[in-house]
């Protein structure tokens, strides 16, 4: 199930293709980085909404030139204690100006949602506990922060100096 940053839950509309699976014409689909690199020309030319699954070890810089091709980038948390994807997310947003949907997958838990959203994620693959326990509340646990991130939330230095810095 998919949780959005506004707190709504919906089915995942995307198909996540294995590397040997053929492309479908209508569905929005994601491909692996390996497949993207192997079939880049064909995928560039393909006339559908395309998403990319970027593994933890990949440098966001490797897709910098193609970033506008993707309507979705999926990052992975193999364990919730593995925080590499937070840095990948910030790089995608701030350095490579990625403006599409940025999705957290893997071991996504309630108490990390706010960190993820602050780093630029705006959708989250979650399990049924998110419905039972209303995880959308996790986004509202704080409304003041001590550092600037990818969101527009008030943060301490800006608040105190009363200007954008």
């Amino acid at each position: 199930m998919l949780l959005t940053e506004s707190g709504s839950l919906q089915p995942d509309a995307w198909r996540h293709l294995a590397d040997e699976e053929p492309l479908h014409d209508s569905d929005p689909v994601t491909v692996s980085l390996t497949r993207w690199q192997k079939e880049r020309a064909a995928l560039q030319a393909w006339n559908g909404r395309l998403g990319l699954r970027l593994p933890n070890h990949a440098e966001p810089a490797t897709i910098a030139d193609d970033i506008d091709r993707f309507a979705l980038i999926v990052l992975n948390f193999p364990k919730f204690t593995d925080g590499r994807a937070y840095s990948q997310a910030r790089l995608l947003r701030s350095r490579y100006r990625y403006a599409g949907e940025l999705r957290a997958s893997g071991n996504v838990l309630r108490d990390q949602l706010l960190f993820m959203r602050r780093c630029g994620f705006n959708s989250f693959i979650v399990d049924e506990r998110a419905v039972r326990e209303d995880w959308s509340k996790a986004f509202d646990e704080f409304d003041v922060f001590y550092q600037k991130a990818q969101d527009t939330a008030p943060w301490v230095m800006r608040q105190r100096l009363g200007k954008d810095c």
Binding site: F80, T81, D82, G83, R84, Y86, S87, Q88, R90, S94, R95, L109, D111, Q112, L114, F115, M116, R118, C119, E133, E141, F142, D143, V144, F145, Y146, Q147, K148, A149, V156, M157, Q159, R160, L161, C165
Partner: protein, 549 residues
């Protein structure tokens, strides 16, 4: 002293509410222990041998009398009437109930304190010189920078799940009293040839099973680039630090495997690439934070030095305390007083609720209500008029806080060890107690001497940096003690060398005696133990310790 404004208050209140809900979800079974563990650790709550342990944050070791009284209250109400000051300038309570922890955090929030990130794989308490702001040898007060880093590091969204914990220290004085080189990241405040303030940046220090000293990767960072450069370091570490092996996951291993030069180049490249993304630290914000640390308005009327001299001359115990526990203050007529939490025979770093209240009262009466915690597990009153010293000492002495042993053999750094800690492989407190009892009578003759004891390889007792370090290990069910020699903290930081096979618990005192005997016989002039050790080498010490006589 830094005071919370509405922003900080709101933040810690939100944190308490969040944590209260997490505990509720744990107690109701909604969260498994596996899922709850990292959450409680983000609030400093450990499950130890006998009970929960709560470690709370004392940012850069600065306390007010109000805060200290609150700690005394918590010790009485929720613990067994005492607390333990740690080598990260924090305090921990060892007998805590899980269900009471949200209330404890609410009590802390009421005096502008919290337990955020005193554990877990993120930024730990930022530490600095306990004499900050008043030391005669400092360039500028480092506390505003420590506070600015504290804010930046608090619940940082990108860096809250690092490969491993991350410790930062800042020092601004000639004499490094913050052990900067044992930190994951260290900052020495510097003034460049244009007179601008900035920082020398060191990375890759740490103790544990692979002890390494931090190395300089940037000789000068302008202070406006502080956030940007810290973020560059952390981003390189977060992306490339090892996550496959707990024991190789600190930044020191990454720095060691790449080499400091290569690591520095990666950080520099990231910093260059991030220009325009990271926030600059404006002078106006530094000025605003620094105003919170303005020095108190001292009474600058002349001090009756003759009366003080008279008290020293007629009272040898007071004279010893003046010699060892009182340091130079930058304002004439004043002194910096270190209160030893190492009375002979006690647990190093422990402080009873009554003692906390007394220190708070004395701070109010004689020291502008301010108290510092030193990483050596002692307390500091940073602003005492010299004509109040004798009365202060009398009151401290009457309460069992008059030990005159700062920097001496019985001023032992010691972790809680197997008496409390679930990670420990041996007891450390009884060793410290025995050694202090044995050495205190002749510690003046021995001179400056640092013994540091850890009850396991994680090295919370900094044994690698002790002139003599003692590491308790388990050998086939028996607690034995490995001895390292020649370590040092501060400017001349050095990792001690293991001298030979571990000794049995009952043989530790005798072993340390023999090692000190060699030092006493061989030292030249004012040599410290590490200096003598480096000059004469390990052989004479080995001979004394292991040769069959």
């Amino acid at each position: 002293m830094y005071r919370y404004d509405d922003f900080d208050h709101r933040f810690v209140d939100e944190r308490v509410a969040q944590y209260r809900d997490q505990v509720r979800r744990r107690l109701s079974g909604e969260l498994s222990e596996d899922e709850f563990r990292p959450l409680r650790l983000m609030n400093g709550l450990y499950l130890q041998l006998h009970a929960y342990m709560l470690r709370l944050a004392i940012p850069y070791g600065v306390l007010s009398s109000t805060k200290l009284r609150k700690l005394a209250h918590i010790a009485r109400r929720f613990d067994r009437g005492y607390g333990h000051f740690t080598t990260r300038q924090n305090l921990q309570f060892h007998w805590i109930k899980l269900e009471e922890t949200p209330d404890i955090l609410a009590e802390l929030a009421s005096v502008e304190m919290h337990a955020i990130q005193t554990s877990g794989n993120s930024f730990r308490n930022v530490t600095t010189d306990p004499f900050a702001g008043v030391a005669a040898d400092e360039i500028e007060d480092p506390r505003p920078y420590a506070e600015i880093i504290r804010q930046w590091a608090t619940l940082h969204p990108e860096f809250s799940f690092l490969p491993r914990k991350f410790k930062i220290a800042v020092s601004a004085a000639e004499d490094d009293r913050a052990a900067v080189k044992m930190h994951d990241l260290g900052l020495y405040l510097r003034r460049n040839d244009k007179g601008e303030i900035g920082f020398e940046l060191l990375v890759g220090g740490g103790l544990g099973r692979t002890p390494l000293l931090a190395q300089t990767i940037k000789p000068f960072i302008a202070r406006r680039d502080l956030f940007a450069y810290l973020e560059a370091v952390l981003r390189v570490y977060n992306r490339h630090g090892r996550r496959d092996n707990l024991y190789k996951s600190r930044i020191k291993i990454l720095v060691q495997s790449l080499g400091a030069a290569k690591f520095a180049a990666e950080v520099e490249a990231e910093w260059q690439a991030a220009k325009g993304e990271a926030v600059a630290l404006p002078d106006s914000y530094i000025t605003e934070i620094a105003s919170a640390f303005a020095l108190p308005s001292y009474d600058r009327s002349p001090v009756d030095e003759a009366a003080l001299e008279q008290a020293i001359a007629t009272n040898p115990a007071f004279a010893r305390w003046m010699k060892h526990n009182v340091a130079a203050h930058k304002v004439p007529g004043h002194a910096i007083v270190t209160i030893s939490l190492k009375p002979v025979g006690q647990t190093p770093g422990d402080c009873s609720a009554d003692q906390m209240d007394l220190v708070a009262d004395l701070a109010d009466a004689l020291g502008f209500g301010e108290i510092r915690v030193a990483y050596e597990q002692n307390l500091v009153l940073p602003h005492v008029r010299r004509d109040a010293l004798f009365a202060l000492w009398q009151k401290l002495d009457a309460a069992g806080l008059g030990s005159s042993n700062i920097g001496l053999a019985s001023d032992i750094i010691c972790c809680p060890g197997m008496d409390y800690c679930s990670l420990a492989t041996a007891r450390s407190i009884p060793i410290a107690q025995r050694l202090a009892r044995h050495l205190s009578a002749r510690e003046d003759a021995i001179g400056r001497f640092n013994i540091k004891i850890s009850g396991c390889i994680n090295a919370c007792g900094h044994h690698h940096l002790g002139h003599i370090g003692i590491l308790g290990v388990d050998k086939n069910g028996e607690e034995v003690y490995q001895i390292t020699l020649g370590g040092d903290a501060g400017n001349n930081a050095a990792i001690g060398t293991i001298i030979g096979p571990a000794v049995k618990s009952e043989a530790v005192t005798d072993a340390i005696d023999k090692l000190i005997g060699v030092y006493a016989a061989m030292r030249q002039g004012g040599e410290t133990f590490p200096q003598t050790f480096r000059r004469i080498g390990a052989a004479p010490f080995k001979e004394a310790l292991y040769a069959a006589h």
